[in-house]
Every structure is written in structure tokens, then in C-alpha cells.
Amino acid sequence: MNKVRTIIRKEWAEVFRNRMVLFSVAFLPLLMAAIPLAIIFASRGSMTTDQYGEMPAQVETFCPAELSGGDCFQVYMVSQFMLMFMILPLAIPSTISAYSVIGEKTSRTLEPLLATPITTLELLAGKSLAALLPAIAATYISFGIFSLGAWIMIPNPAVFAAMMDARWLIAVFLVGPLLSLVSVNVSIMISSRVTDPRAAEQLTALLVVPLLAVFFGQFAGLFVINRELILYGALFLLLIDAILIFLSTQIFQRETILTRWK
């Protein structure tokens, strides 16, 4: 366990010197919190009850009956953007591990590292956690900033409560970490094969595509993201994670790293 900690500290000491990494860890969470807050700000009190009738029927599912049409629309709009919080756990780990793995490859530091009595599992765990922890922390902080801002800006506690629906809490606190695990594993696998961290990042960024598909699908009213859907999604991610972790431990062998990671 101590060795895992050594690796994590070392990773952070190295990787947070990189501007791209700092940007994705510090700036993205602020941006992701700012977007839904801006929507709340812009839609504040601008809706009247009669507009409610023009809204898609699915909107109703977002709102408890006692909310007014305008309030409900606000909840609906913000809910649409809640998915954006899922970009953080995808983007941050991929940036960190791309720079970390490719950095080790180009400076040829892997061989001396592998000559030590560290197990490859400890090394993998250290590298993964070094990317996961900041991603999860950034997601939570970002969501925290958003919640705090929303709480301040929304006078009606019923509206606020509707926004903080269990769905989004599950998404942020459960699906987020599961997504970052997918991201970190995919990123390490890709980074072991390419030599340019930006290429690795862009390839890993393709993971955002399914997320966007969900986002637009919901936006277009193809389906409604309800609690069951999110739980099934979490279960599915759990399965994917299990497979990816298994694959990583297969790739993460001393000999493979030394002879195939170019």
C-alpha cells in the first residue's frame, strides 16, 4: 500500500506541472458548474404559467405536481445539462494518465521503476488512482459549486429539491466514479500504444460520444433519463469496468511494458 502511495505522490508531483493537466483539472469543473448556473440565472422568473402547455410532455416527469410551469421548465433545462457533469470523470483521468504514461515512456523511466520490487498491480493501482482521485474530487467539487450556486439563486426550496433529484445524485456520486474508471483504463491502454499524449487524449475523448448520444437522445425526447435507466447504466458500467480492469492487468506485465510499449 505504501508503494501505491509513493506512486500516487510521484505522479502528482510530475503531472500537475503540465499545463494541459492543470487546465483540465482546474478549469473544466468550473466551466461545468457555470453552465447550469447560467441557465438558472437566465431563466429566472422569465417563464409564465401558460407556456407550460407548449412544453413536451416528458417535462412533466421532471416536476412534482405542485411546481408552476416556469419553475418546472427551469428544472427541466437544468436537468438536461446535468449530464455535462459526466464529462469531467471522462475527461480528467484520460488527460492525467495520457501524460503520465507517455511521459514515462519517452523519458524511459519505466525500466528502473520495474526493476524495483513493486508489483505491477501496485503500479497499475498507483497510476490509476493518481488519475481517478483528482477526477472524482473535481466532479464532486464542481457539483458542489453548482449546488451551492443553485441554492443561493433559487428562492423556492421545492424547485431546488426537484433539481437535486436522486437521479443526479446517483449520477454524480456513483456513475461518475465508474465512468472515470472506464476512462483511466482506456487511456492507459491507448497511451501504451501511442507516443503523443494529445493523440491519446483525443482517442480517449471518443468515450464522450456515447455520453453525447445520451444527451441528445434525451434532448430530442427519445427517452427520459429516469432513476431505473441510471441504475441500469451504472450496472452496465460496472460490468465494463470489470472487463477493462481484467484486460489492464493482463497488459500490465513487466515484460509487456518493457518490450511492447513503444
Binding site: T6, E14, L110, T116, P117, R254, E255, L258, T259
Partner: protein
């Protein structure tokens, strides 16, 4: 300290190391020579439990490669072909990481000891990106020593160093040897191997020879003595050739070149014979072949020493 039996490594269709048999004693400095691509680094990697042999076995420090890899990694130090330092981190932090990974009991103390020993203490807080090649190499050597390994693998420790830094590293290796460590030294520098090593192996995918530098020279070229005479002639030459202990006598560039086994004992006799023949002797000297000549002949012939 290191024994290998039929140690073999194949990468796909490339045979990198073929049936290597070695036995290296404790405290020995063992030179491992061979051209580029000979399989030296591959051998070191197998012996340090970094990659597994395709065939054969190896025992390092009493532990078997492939079965007791963890113990091997704890008891050997490896200087890899490239220093492989974390460039953005300070010299001190670079070593600190490895002291922790090697579970050194007093990390701070060991780090200080080796930073001081290699003259890097004053610059310990600077990122290693600012270091010269020689300083990086020294730091990498320090890193390999933090856990006080009994066996040390050095893969080309003086490659790319200026003569002065190379000298420093070499002196340091001599010092390590005095401490009784077993050192496996891969090098392309034959002069270095000649000076530092107790025994030398010449290797090119398979082992060509192993012996002390001195005996390699003798085996390959015999011992030769040159006589400079003011008045060398055929009669003198044939007289010397007829001596029973002389294996060969030749005239080369107006000098007499004699090959024999025990020049310390036989030279006076040759001199006496020559003087009796009326020779005027100016100098007598031993012709020493450099290890380079031995090496080149071996690697070119790709085989056993000629007799």
C-alpha cells in the same frame, strides 16, 4: 553469485540470447562485451527479473529467476541503458521515490549518503532536467545503490560520458568492488573492461569466450617478445627458431619477433644465443596486444580463439 544454464531469449523470430552458461563469483567484476544488438541488455533484463527467459534457468544471489523474482529485485541493483530520471523532479525526490519503492529502512539517510558520495548533494533540489549527462548518469548509479544490493548490473555506465566523468564513474566502480559487491558490467569500452574486470565474456547472441583479460590475450596471440637488433640476419633467425621452447620466430620490419610460453625464464637464453651469434641487441620488449585486438578477432571470426 550468478549462475545461468542454457539461458535463452527469443523475441518472435529473433534469437537474442542463445544457450548462455555463466558462473560468476561473489565480489567479481564481470565484463560483458559484445557488438550492438549482441543481446547484452536482454541478458541483464533476464538476470534482473525484468523479462523472462524463453528457455534455461538462472540463479542470482541464490534466487531463481522466474520463481523468486521479488527476492531478486530486492537484492540486485540495475543501472539501465538510459538513466531514465524524472526530469521535472529534483535529484533528491528522484532518489526518494526509489528508496521508498525499495523499502529502504532509512530513506533520507541513504539518499544523503549517495548524493554526497557522488558529489550531487549541493544540487539535490534542482530538477534533473538541468543536469549534465554525467550528473544524470551518476544519479542513476546512486539510484541503483540505495538498497545496498549485493549484485549490481551496470549497462554501459560510461557510454556518452566525457573522459573525466567516465573516469569518475570508473573509480566509483572500483570502490564498489572493494566493498565486495558483485558487478556485472556491460560495456563497449575495451580499455575500461581491461582495467576494471576480473573476467571478461565476449558475447554475440551466444557466448564466445570467458576468461581473464590476460589469459584471453595469451590464448589468442600467445606471448610475443620483440628483439631490436642493429644487425639481424637469417643465421640469427634460424638459430633462435631452433631453440626447443620457441614456438615461432619471424623477422618483421627488421626486428625479431619470437613467440614463446615463458618469456621470463627463456629470454636470457635467447639473448645469450643471439650474442653468441654476434648480434648487437638494442632493446628487448614484450609485445602486448590490446584487448581490442582480441575482441575484434573474436567478434569478426564469430568463434573460438584461434591457436
Amino acid at each position: 553469485m550468478i549462475q545461468t544454464e542454457n539461458l535463452t531469449k527469443r523475441f518472435g523470430s529473433t534469437l537474442a540470447v542463445k544457450g548462455l552458461n555463466l558462473s560468476i563469483e561473489q565480489g567479481e567484476v564481470f565484463g560483458f562485451l559484445g557488438p550492438n544488438g549482441a543481446g547484452k541488455t536482454t541478458t541483464v533484463r533476464m538476470l534482473a527479473s525484468l523479462i523472462s527467459p524463453t528457455q534455461g534457468r538462472a540463479v542470482v544471489n541464490g534466487f531463481e529467476v522466474g520463481r523468486q523474482d521479488d527476492q531478486i529485485r530486492r537484492s540486485v541493483g540495475v543501472l539501465t541503458e538510459t538513466p531514465g530520471l524524472y526530469d521535472n523532479l529534483s535529484a533528491e525526490y528522484n532518489l526518494r521515490i526509489f528508496a521508498e519503492l525499495y523499502e529502504v529502512r532509512d530513506p533520507a539517510g541513504q539518499v544523503e549518503k549517495y548524493l554526497r558520495m557522488l558529489g550531487l548533494w549541493e544540487r539535490r533540489f534542482e530538477p534533473t532536467a538541468t543536469f549534465s549527462k554525467g550528473m544524470k548518469q551518476k544519479l542513476a548509479i546512486a539510484r541503483a545503490l540505495l538498497h545496498e544490493p549485493k549484485v549490481l548490473f551496470l549497462d554501459e555506465p560510461t557510454a556518452a560520458l566525457d573522459p573525466e566523468s567516465a573516469r569518475l564513474v570508473r573509480d566509483f566502480i572500483s570502490e564498489l568492488r572493494r566493498e565486495g559487491r558483485t558487478i556485472f558490467l556491460c560495456t563497449h569500452n575495451l580499455d575500461e573492461a581491461d582495467r576494471l574486470c576480473d573476467r571478461i565474456a565476449v558475447f554475440k547472441t551466444r557466448l564466445l569466450v570467458v576468461d581473464t583479460p590476460e589469459r584471453l590475450r595469451q590464448q589468442m596471440f600467445g606471448r610475443k617478445v620483440v628483439f631490436h637488433l642493429r644487425n639481424l640476419d637469417e643465421a640469427m633467425l634460424s638459430k633462435v627458431s631452433e631453440l626447443p621452447f620457441v614456438s615461432e620466430a619471424r623477422m618483421v620490419d627488421g626486428r625479431l619477433l619470437v613467440t614463446l610460453d615463458d618469456p621470463e625464464k627463456r629470454n636470457p637464453e635467447i639473448v645469450r644465443q643471439l650474442v653468441m651469434e654476434g648480434a648487437e641487441i638494442q632493446f628487448v620488449g614484450e609485445l602486448r596486444y590490446s584487448l581490442e585486438e582480441v575482441y575484434l578477432r573474436l567478434v569478426r571470426n564469430d568463434g573460438a580463439p584461434a591457436t
